[in-house]
Amino acid sequence: MSALIRLYPAAWRARYGLEFEALLAERPPSKRDLLDIVLAAVDARLVPQVEAAPVARQARITDRLAGAAAVAGGLIWSATYLVGWLVQADGDLSLPILAALGLMLLSLPGTYIVAYARPVALAGIAVAVSLALLFAQVLPWDLILLVPILAIVGVLGPGALALAAARAGTPAGGRWRLLLLTVPWPIIGSVAVAVGFVPTVLPGPVVVASFLPLGLAWIVTGFRIARGPIVSMSTVTTAGGTA
């Protein structure tokens, strides 16, 4: 009987599959019923009545930890640039920035990493290469700093932030606005530093203004993840029913 159910679209199966299977078991279909099921399955594909909908749930301890990691990552990220700008000390900022990136990565555990394994792995490789270069002292620190920054803004930044925001229940429009407000500016700031438009490797107002929104976005998103409700990436379907 499961072959009959497979004729229906996935969203329909997720919603009605179990009870339809029970119906078929309790009232075995005649040949005429079989034809009816096939026609109804075609109809369900052509005129779907069941739409996938994200499922919200209470935040669990793993979500709270992930949210805390996101907040900590955003705080470290923001504080690094703010303190670097205010103090203007000739120090190495790459370690706290890398730590912030690591915490942001840590905030995307479990199914999220599984679902988005490739971009997360690419970002992880970029961060690992940056760390290796840092410890090997191969590149000057400001260039090393640019590598993870470009990694986060290019791969991890939009992907991870959108992912975290989705998990926090931010609707699609809000996620796009979040990305627009945070992601382009670090890229512009990085390029400005790289081409010498901003004549300092220490954070100045331009660099801080470019990079701070991303840190703040992570802090806000982290708080929302920790507070819940959490929107599951795996979807079930409803057609208006109440549980």
């Binding site: 009870e19 078929l24 005429r32 019923d33 009816d36 109804a40 208006g240 029913g241 549980a243």
Partner: protein, 88 residues
């Protein structure tokens, strides 16, 4: 919206104008009212009625959900019963 499911949907509304039913009981009830109705047509009608908020599923602790009329559905069921010459 309802297309070829108009007729079965009317019978589902009439069948549900009482206690909540699961799909199997609903199939039996509609068949007793209207003669043969296919499994696929039944669920197709139910899914459309759910989408129209005329019917809702409720979980009463059983493994499978039951279906009942919403407030709007009860009004529609009254009209359906009149249309089918089965006034409550």
């Amino acid at each position: 919206m309802l297309g070829r499911y108009v007729e079965p949907a009317l019978w589902v509304l009439i069948a549900l104008d009482g206690d909540p039913l699961d799909l199997t009981s609903m199939l039996d009830a509609v068949r007793s009212l209207d003669g043969p109705i296919g499994h696929g047509t039944l669920v197709g009608a139910v899914s459309r009625l759910e989408r129209l908020r005329l019917v809702e599923s409720v979980w009463t602790g059983a493994r499978l959900p039951m279906y009942r009329l919403t407030t709007l559905g009860r009004m529609a069921a009254g009209s359906a019963a009149i249309l089918k010459g089965r006034p409550a």
